[in-house]
């Protein structure tokens, strides 16, 4: 059976769909939003680390490859509601605003991605209590010329450009208090990217990054970190942001400068929370309907992390991208291609 269902139209699902279509498969791509591009499109990311390339240079071709390919049928605003049958003859119900229909597929690819961690739970940071405490995803939109502020970093309380910005790393990650002991894997490079973007636009604004470790393991990431320090004078302070209060209408943060061995208070105009990644509702929902295994945090579990990284616990159902755990765009694209190859070899 030469038909494949791909669930999720983020970079991973887009890449997988395109590769499969190129190999001659008929692909149905099901995306629950009315746009393609996943989190990258949803939060209007503007530039991509580490090369500071415009998102449009990467995302537009990936979307165009899908939309212009006659082997791919894109179902926007659609979800799956039921699965029956087994590989290589799955019957899947696809639902959209017009109704429900059943289609038959030889294989299924799940690329349902992640959700941003909601920092409201970390009450001590004051997110949703103090207007000028924002998430890194919100900052992506603020820095985009096509975003709500036309690319100006206007702080939400009064629309002024902040003179002092603090960025808190590891919000909702590496934190047993919220049940997420794992690392978000992109927070460090994303904050470094955002710090540079802010300094590029507003050289007089001071940017402080409060961190435990700068985890710069990706291609070109460490170099970007060096650039942030050397060329842009971003200040990296080793200590985790601990608490935010409002004093005389100004945000005040507490942390320990662990290298200097001293607790500090620091008044700033805006605080950006590098909120981590969490498995989204869409991923959890898909796992339930398809009956595939999740790991202890809710991410999709490969059959074998080393030997079959793109196979789910069920034959004929494949997994890829950020729904397996935090991942950056570059590696999501690699995952999309890898899963396509695995599907092709299983269907031949």
């Amino acid at each position: 059976m030469k038909t494949v269902l791909v669930i999720g139209g983020g970079v991973t699902g887009l890449k997988a769909s395109h590769e499969l279509a190129e190999m001659g498969y008929n692909v149905s791509l099901v995306e629950k939003q009315d746009y393609l591009g996943g989190q990258v499109a949803k939060h209007k990311y503007y530039k991509l680390a580490p090369d500071m390339r415009l998102v449009s240079e990467v995302l537009d071709p990936v979307i165009k490859n899908v939309e212009s390919n006659s082997n791919i049928k894109v179902h926007k605003h659609s979800t799956i509601t039921a699965l029956s049958g087994n590989a290589p003859e799955f019957k899947v119900k696809i639902k959209n605003s017009k109704g429900e229909s059943e289609e038959t597929f030889g294989a299924i690819v799940v690329a349902t991605g992640f959700e941003h961690f909601d920092p409201t739970v970390k009450q001590e940071y004051g997110y949703s209590r103090f207007k000028d405490v924002v998430t890194n995803a919100e900052v992506e939109e603020l820095l985009n010329p096509n975003g709500p502020t036309k690319g100006e970093l206007k702080r939400p309380s009064d629309g002024k450009i902040p003179k002092k910005v603090a960025i808190f790393q590891c919000v909702g990650s590496r934190d047993k208090q919220v049940g997420n002991p794992y690392c978000c894997r992109v927070g460090c490079v994303v904050s470094t990217k955002q710090a540079i973007e802010i300094k590029e636009k507003y050289p007089d604004t001071e940017v402080y990054v409060y961190y435990m470790d700068m985890r710069m393991f990706g291609r070109g990431w460490e170099e970007l970190y060096g650039k942030a320090m050397e060329e842009y004078e971003v200040i990296f302070t080793r200590g985790r942001g601990a608490e935010v209060t409002l004093k005389n209408q100004q945000l005040s943060l507490r942390a320990e400068e662990t290298i200097m061995d001293r607790p500090i208070q620091h008044s700033v105009d805006m605080i950006i929370l590098a909120a981590g990644q969490a498995p989204g509702d869409g991923t959890i929902e898909a796992a339930k309907i398809l009956g595939i295994k999740q790991n202890e945090y809710g991410y999709l579990a490969p059959k074998d992390d080393f030997l079959s990284p793109n196979e789910s616990s069920k034959a004929g159902i494949f997994i890829a991208g950020a729904d397996k755990g935090p991942l950056d765009v570059e590696n999501c694209i690699v995952e999309g291609a890898a899963v396509a190859a695995k599907v092709a070899s299983s269907l031949k």
Binding site: K176, Q177, G239, R240, A242, E256, T258
Partner: protein, 244 residues
């Protein structure tokens, strides 16, 4: 001939982990729940009221217990751990769910038992005496404006009319109309309390830090003994009659 140059870098000598105090602390059931490695992130320190005012750091407490150096542990048991306010903020913020608060609590108990606490606690003699002989130690009189400058100017105004305020607030509660203690406990209540301390072994423990306080309490009890024991017997008889 050139003289031998001394290497100025501290050499990390053979670990002294596994010493007596270390073992005693690690043996306590609370430690297992209180130390799970440490990210050195400083969240505990940033939230710690003691770290804000003293040379004290809950992060150091955790790191010290991980390293387990006997000399450092002994040093801490004698001095630094007594700065902790036991507010438990560190425990509820630590991303590794450590609790410097529980570690300190454990270390304090062991320090008392092992006779390491006397010097650090010397300043608390008066408070200990008040608790042991009166049943409470905090008194409105202690809250003088100069002792708590951070309470602000209104404290000066308020502290000048403590007695009037207490009389007004606690009408009908005679034991509360005092300012040299929080409330005036009855002799019988104090006697009962002292007996509990004696029989539970708490008094003996206090004696390891404040030996003379044991005599004071025992003299205090002796003076009232006949009268109070009679009262206790009467109370027992009354309870028995009521079938309880």
């Amino acid at each position: 001939m050139s003289e031998e140059v001394k290497n100025p870098i501290t050499e990390k000598i053979e670990s002294t982990k596994g010493g007596h105090f270390y073992k005693e602390i690690m043996k306590d059931f609370r430690i297992k729940e209180s130390l799970h490695g440490c990210l050195n992130c400083g969240t505990c320190v940033a939230n710690c009221p003691a770290a804000a005012f003293y040379d004290y750091s809950p992060r150091e407490v955790c790191q010290m217990m991980i390293e387990g150096d006997e000399e450092t542990i002994e040093e801490y048991m004698k001095s630094k751990i007594w700065n902790c306010a036991q507010c438990f903020s560190c425990k509820y913020r630590c991303p590794k769910e450590n609790s410097a608060a529980d570690i300190v609590m454990t270390m304090r108990e062991i320090a008392v038992r092992e006779g390491l606490a006397a010097e650090a606690l010397a300043g608390y003699t008066r408070i200990a005496k008040l608790v042991l002989t009166r049943g409470n130690q905090l008194a409105p009189d202690m809250l003088s404006p100069d002792a708590f400058p951070d309470w602000g100017p209104r404290m000066i105004e308020l502290s000048s009319k403590k007695m009037e305020m207490r009389e007004e607030l606690f009408k009908g509660f005679p034991g509360m109309n005092v300012v040299d203690r929080a409330w005036a406990a009855e002799d019988f209540t104090i006697y009962e309390m002292q007996r509990i301390w004696e029989e539970s072994g708490a008094l003996e423990k206090v004696g390891t830090v404040f030996p003379f306080l044991v005599d004071i309490v025992q003299d205090d009890m002796e003076d009232k003994k006949e009268e109070m024991e009679a009262k206790i017997e009467a109370k027992k008889a009354k309870l028995a009659a009521a079938g309880k």
